[in-house]
């Protein structure tokens, strides 16, 4: 009896390791409930099972790299173009996301052959209408965040945050490393507090009067306004307004959630199918209504909460290639650290 139990245990241990099926393995750094719902829709439609390993982007990337060509990963899905670009730079991705459906759906600056954007988000400025005048904001740019008039009035996350890294990487791409280093020093001098908390905490700091302007992604305000975070945060969200910077030049910094095709993917064809599925109008609508991101494809409108409160009519930066975020990540970390950005 004992022997049977032991062999059964051992068999169980190995069974989990070697299972072959019609499936696609996703290393997933986006943990929205809405995503899980989309994956089950995909399974219902195609019969392809979606296996998930959730985690933070860094740890997932390391596992893919350590496993090398033997990796079970097919797709790596994360919420930052910089991370997809960095994975590409390390040679862990392969080309193949080039089907007509993908090319037709996604603008060229938002994809490479190895990874594509699946939903857009803008990193914008939030301000307190009580304490910030229209004149002060007029013509405001990311570059303007270093202007001494914001001294003691700005909140932004830590330099280790991936969205900040990509924002700074895009500035390096547009203005050069030297100018961006000076800019980072100006930003640090303007901070109302040592960086702490997530994007939503920055918005709430403006609502609470700790600061006058904050830098955060678009969907956070919509999330707060939706009431999903409770009545207090809904009230707080009404005390801040959104401002889209750089409207008079290249446009507002855009980032994407991206899906990347891993080198050695055992289920490559299924992976491509899943990406195509995520880019269909119904999937895109599901994203916009639940995660409050901007749609990747034309013909789908963002959630009414986003449209009514943030405005839809803004100029997106379609010029800066998102692939540059990955390339300039290291330089971005370097200038922020050198400026004493915690």
């Amino acid at each position: 009896m004992k022997k049977i139990t032991i062999s059964a245990l051992i068999a169980l241990l190995f069974a989990s390791t070697f299972a072959i099926a019609n499936e696609v393995n996703v290393f997933n750094a986006r943990h929205y409930k809405a995503d899980a719902e989309l994956y089950s829709k995909f399974t219902n439609k195609t019969g392809i099972k979606v296996n998930l390993i959730n985690g933070k982007s860094g740890a997932l990337e390391k596992r893919i790299i350590s496993e090398g060509v033997d990796s079970s990963a097919d797709l790596y899905i994360t919420a930052d173009a910089g991370r997809c670009g960095a994975m590409d730079a390390k040679g862990t991705l392969q080309g193949g996301l080039t089907s007509a459906a993908i090319k037709a759906a996604v603008p060229a600056s938002f994809r490479t052959s190895k990874w594509v954007g699946i939903a857009k988000r803008a990193r914008i400025i939030y301000y307190s209408p009580e304490r910030v005048t229209g004149a002060e904001l007029s013509g405001m740019t990311y570059e303007g965040l270093a202007d001494p008039k914001w001294k003691g009035r700005l909140v932004i996350r830590k330099s280790s945050n991936i969205y900040n890294k990509s924002l700074v990487a895009s500035l390096i791409k547009n203005n050069g490393k030297k100018a961006t280093a000076t800019w980072a020093e100006g930003v640090v001098a303007n901070m109302a507090r040592t960086p702490t908390g997530n994007d939503r905490a920055q918005i709430m700091a403006v609502a609470a009067g700790e600061a006058d302007i904050a830098v955060a992604n678009t969907y956070y305000l919509a999330l707060m306004l939706s009431g999903k975070k409770g009545a207090e945060q809904q009230e707080a969200a009404k005390k801040v307004k959104a401002f889209f910077p750089n409207q008079n030049d290249r446009g507002t910094h855009m980032n994407v959630s991206c899906a990347a095709l891993v080198k050695g993917a055992p289920n490559k064809a299924n992976a491509v199918k899943l990406v195509e599925f995520l880019l269909t109008p119904s999937s895109q609508e599901h994203f916009t209504n639940n995660t409050f991101e901007f749609p990747m494809i034309d013909g789908v409108s963002p959630s009414p909460l986003v449209v009514n409160n943030l405005g839809l009519d803004f100029k997106q930066d379609m010029k800066t290639k998102l692939a540059s975020y990955g390339k300039n990540q290291a330089a971005a970390v370097e200038v922020m650290t050198a400026a004493g950005w915690k």
């Binding site: 390791t17 943990h31 740890a59 033997d70 280790s160 207090e232 707080a236």
Partner: protein, 562 residues
């Protein structure tokens, strides 16, 4: 990678030592002890030998500034946590061991419930309550009407948040050990103080505290080890300590050599504490065994203001360490009930049970084998090997996981592939097998020491009598030792379960597809700024851990020497 060559060299060396000892017979005890020590030593050796590898130059300057920050932060965190856990742990232990006051019997075991709240869940609660427009804001608004209270609510984030989260979660180590030591202090000592005309406070400083010193040092070194190894809470508050520094330099700088170099520094810290703890424990044992002139002491009954103050001190600590995080998580679960429905609780529970069962089984099996091996062969090398293999507990989980992946990747790329065999990576990385293996390395000392102390209570003459009766070694083991060890075994299983339920970094890095535990679910939601969704798994984790703690309390808190 030179690390591995050293591994091989060490193996050969041990083999020679083994051959030189001609008294030994090659038997399964040796093989298993060797195997266990070897497996447990892999991560340590990988870390230590990488210290001399070159790191990439690119970040050299940045790293130097980082390194100082990591060390300073680790020291600030360590010192503050030690001071707080000392005050909380000793204060409560002193009150419940020497005095009777309303609730003293309740607090005696209720205070250890704080173990059920891991530092990262404590961190979520602190943030949830004190953040702008958080729970404190809601309470004030409901009490006093609309106003901007945010400015008046203190913010517990960053370093302060991390210090509080860790202190309230870990003070019970000091409490348990100090209390055990206080209980065994003879009434004679207290009388001595009285005869010398000492006040209560003076007796406490001059007699009680010094006599309990070894136990207190042991408790504090456990706290220190856990603090230095802390990952979840420190990561949540984005504090750069040596441990998160290792993780970040590995992940963001792709610099394993540098990660290993920081690990080396950290391990030096931790090993000094490990040795300190072991030495103190030995002394503590010596104190406990002094039976001559032991007089069971009477607890002093407190009245009036004194009783009230004693009650308040214990209550406040109990409230802040356990009731506060529990209520915050409960409040959120009720406020956002949709998260309760979204969570596949049955599945998470089954996963937890699955991990706990396999890990406990493997850990107990090997601990029994090596303990029994030590007992029947009484060999020094075997003893030495066992001592080495319990060091896994001192290594932070995140380092263990990284070192494990590094080793497997290296082993597979340079040995398995060279031999033309199929890759073994999938057997070890992202599998339950690999996960359990690393749990094994981490928690082996817990199981080994537990069984060892159980064995120490079985006199060797028991074995000899059994042999005289014609019992084989195996029969002695199964029919005599196991029944004797039953209580120790139950206790160890509960401790292992408690550790695995709360474990975060190893599970996070090594778990297979579609496999979550309460801890990973809570962490993932929290890292996506969905603290409300983290509340449900956190709440379940606290409840399950509390049940296990209540089950153990009779072992931890026994008042009479068995």
């Amino acid at each position: 990678m030179p690390g591995i060559y050293t591994n091989v060299k060490l193996g050969t060396l041990l083999f020679h030592v083994y051959k030189a000892d001609y008294n030994m017979k090659l038997n399964s005890w040796y093989l298993s002890s060797f195997l266990i020590s070897f497996v447990v030593l892999i991560p340590i050796i990988t870390v230590f030998t990488s210290f001399f590898e070159n790191t990439s130059n690119y970040y050299e300057i940045l790293k130097n500034t980082f390194l100082i920050e990591y060390i300073l932060n680790s020291i600030t965190l360590l010192v503050s946590v030690l001071i707080l856990t000392f005050i909380f742990g000793i204060g409560t232990a002193y009150l419940v061991s020497f005095y009777k006051f309303p609730g003293s019997n309740f607090f005696k075991w209720a205070l250890i419930l704080s173990f059920a709240v891991p530092p990262y869940i404590y961190a979520y609660s602190l943030t949830a309550f004190f953040e702008n427009y958080g729970t404190a804001f809601t309470i004030l608004k409901n009490l006093f009407g609309d106003a901007n209270y945010n400015k008046d609510i203190p913010k517990f984030d960053g370093m302060l948040g991390a210090i509080l989260s860790i202190s309230f979660s870990l003070f019970a180590y000091v409490y348990i050990l100090a209390r055990a030591s206080f209980l065994y202090q003879s009434q004679n000592l207290i009388d001595l103080g009285k005869n010398l005309g000492f006040s209560k406070i003076k007796s406490f400083y001059k007699i009680i505290l010094p006599a309990a010193r070894p136990a207190i040092v042991a408790g504090l070194s456990l706290v220190a080890m856990e603090t230095l190894a802390e990952f979840g809470a420190v990561d949540f508050f984005s504090i750069n300590t040596l441990t998160t520094g290792i993780y970040n330099s590995w992940i963001y700088f792709d610099d394993l050599a540098f990660a290993n170099r920081i690990s080396f520094l950290l391990l030096l810290f931790i090993f000094s504490l490990f040795i300190l703890e072991n030495l103190s424990r030995r002394k503590a044992k010596y104190h406990l065994n002094s039976k001559g002139g032991f007089k069971q002491k009477e607890k002093i009954k407190l009245f009036g203001v004194q009783a009230f103050l004693a009650f308040m001190f214990c209550f406040i600590i109990f409230f802040i360490s356990f009731l506060f995080p529990l209520s915050q998580m409960l409040y959120w679960t009720i406020k956002f009930p949709e998260n309760l429905l979204d969570l596949d609780i049955v599945n998470l529970l089954l996963n937890t049970v699955y991990l706990v069962t396999i890990s406990s089984f493997v850990l107990l099996l090997f601990s029994l084998i090596s303990n029994y091996g030590n007992r029947v062969s009484k060999n020094k090398i075997l003893n030495f090997l066992s001592t080495l293999s319990i060091s896994g507990y001192a290594i932070p989980g995140v380092i263990l996981a990284i070192a494990f992946i590094t080793f497997i990747a290296w082993f597979d790329n340079s040995i398995i592939k060279a031999l033309g065999l199929t890759s073994i990576k999938k057997i070890f990385i992202g599998s339950i097998f690999g996960l359990v293996l690393v749990y094994f390395i981490r928690f082996y000392s817990l199981a080994f020491n537990g069984i060892k102390s159980g064995y120490e209570k079985i006199n060797i003459s028991v074995d000899e009598s059994a042999y005289l009766l014609g019992y084989s070694k195996r029969k002695t083991f199964t029919n005599i030792h196991i029944p004797f060890l039953r209580n120790s075994l139950i206790f160890i299983i509960i401790l292992i379960s408690l550790e695995i339920i709360r474990e975060l970094p190893i599970t996070l890095i090594l778990r297979p597809f579609n496999f979550e535990t309460f801890a990973t679910t809570a962490y993932i939601s929290a890292s996506e700024d969905l603290l409300e969704a983290a509340a449900v798994p956190s709440l379940f984790l606290i409840l399950i851990a509390s049940i296990f703690i209540i089950m153990t309390s009779k072992y931890i808190l026994r008042e009479k020497n068995e």
